[in-house]
Symmetry: C2
Subunit: 226 residues, 2 copies
């Protein structure tokens, strides 16, 4: 019980009541007053003209996750939709710079990303995640904390040899030589999604075609049609 | 060197190049092509009609941080601006649920919040942070990772006895009785800001007046006038 009280110190929900009202109204009235004050998710979505949602791209290094996310972001921007892209560039150097690539750190990496994605969704932003995210359980956690229509898992699938041939950063070469000891697809596991909302074959379609398929899903889910 | 290569596995910046172009163009051309593709911060800000920025409310429990943030959010929403509120409710239960209230955990709590705030700013969202955030060094870290015009520190100041009299959750009473062992202002330090952008006295002004003062700062900083 003490722990609960303790943990609530910085949890400020009831701290948000209008203070001038605190002496004049009953607790019930205060809560009622409060609920009429806040800006809610639906208000922000009305402002933006679309719903918040997470599009989670998963797949091997070199599969094209970020490329599709970038094309998608551009196409959505042209439609007037607000996107946020979360990827290694802006997460591994900031929020998760204390984490490495051990299984436990990979799981914590994805846990935090899942929570940040949920925040973006809650404020109406269409957030696009481009992470290898090799563990099924970790991705499922990301899904479990959001609403059913708020989460779209996109498996960016290419045969390993195609990804390895692309090898845009020479990482596969280093993984094969042993210079990188734990590399997804070579020396670390990748668990394919069992029931993703969408599978993209980036070796058979252009980035534009792939992004267009995601937009179709966003339309079907009602994300783009508030 | 190996660590650097290793850490870059999930850093996918060069992974974002259009793959169909990878065999046809020189590295220089590819980079150039890439830079013309992405949606940038200024594009999103143009879409939203305002700049991204962090408004960081700091102060004692019961000082009124969340109340002012909520009024501000409502006033900005009415002006058509997109806000996000980060507070104990949506951070301590999610992203930072693994953290307690030791000095080290408080610092990590604020470090992660700082990084998430930076992300929201980078996508054009006016993000409002309502956390006690008692340590000067932690708040300064939050400032240091953002642009000078992107960070507005607001000290929500009330005399301790006023905050304690409000005591909306009965936490001060528990702190005085020793039930909560480490409570800011009673048994844990609060370091006042030395040069905040704004000081609000919530015992002398209404929430609306306080929020209006923040809007003045946002106008002065050019956040609301893209």
């Amino acid at each position: 019980m003490i722990l609960l009280s303790f943990a609530s110190e910085e949890t400020t929900s009831t701290d948000t009541i209008e203070w001038s009202a605190m002496k004049n109204e009953s607790t019930t009235d205060r809560n009622l007053t409060w609920h009429h004050h806040g800006v809610e998710r639906k208000d922000r979505e009305k402002l933006l003209g679309h719903r918040g949602a997470t599009v989670w791209f998963t797949g091997l290094s070199g599969s094209g996750k970020s490329t599709v996310a970038d094309y998608l972001s551009e196409m959505l921007q042209e439609r007037g939709a607000l996107t946020a892209i979360l990827d290694g560039d802006n997460v591994r150097q900031g929020l998760n710079k204390d984490l490495g690539f051990s299984p436990a750190d990979r799981t914590e990496n994805i846990r935090r990303i899942s929570e940040v994605a949920k925040l973006f969704t809650s404020f109406g932003v269409i957030n696009l995640l481009a992470f290898i995210s090799p563990y099924r359980e970790d991705r499922d956690y990301g899904r479990s904390i959001q609403g059913e229509d708020d989460f779209i898992e996109v498996y960016v699938e290419v045969p390993l040899d195609v990804a390895e041939e692309r090898d845009p950063k020479g990482l596969y070469k280093k993984a094969r030589s042993g210079e990188i000891p734990s590399f997804t697809g070579i020396s670390a596991p990748y668990e394919e999604p069992l029931t993703p909302e969408l599978v993209l074959r980036t070796d058979l379609s252009t980035p534009e075609e792939c992004a267009a398929k995601v937009i179709e899903i966003l339309e079907q889910k009602g994300v783009l049609t508030v």
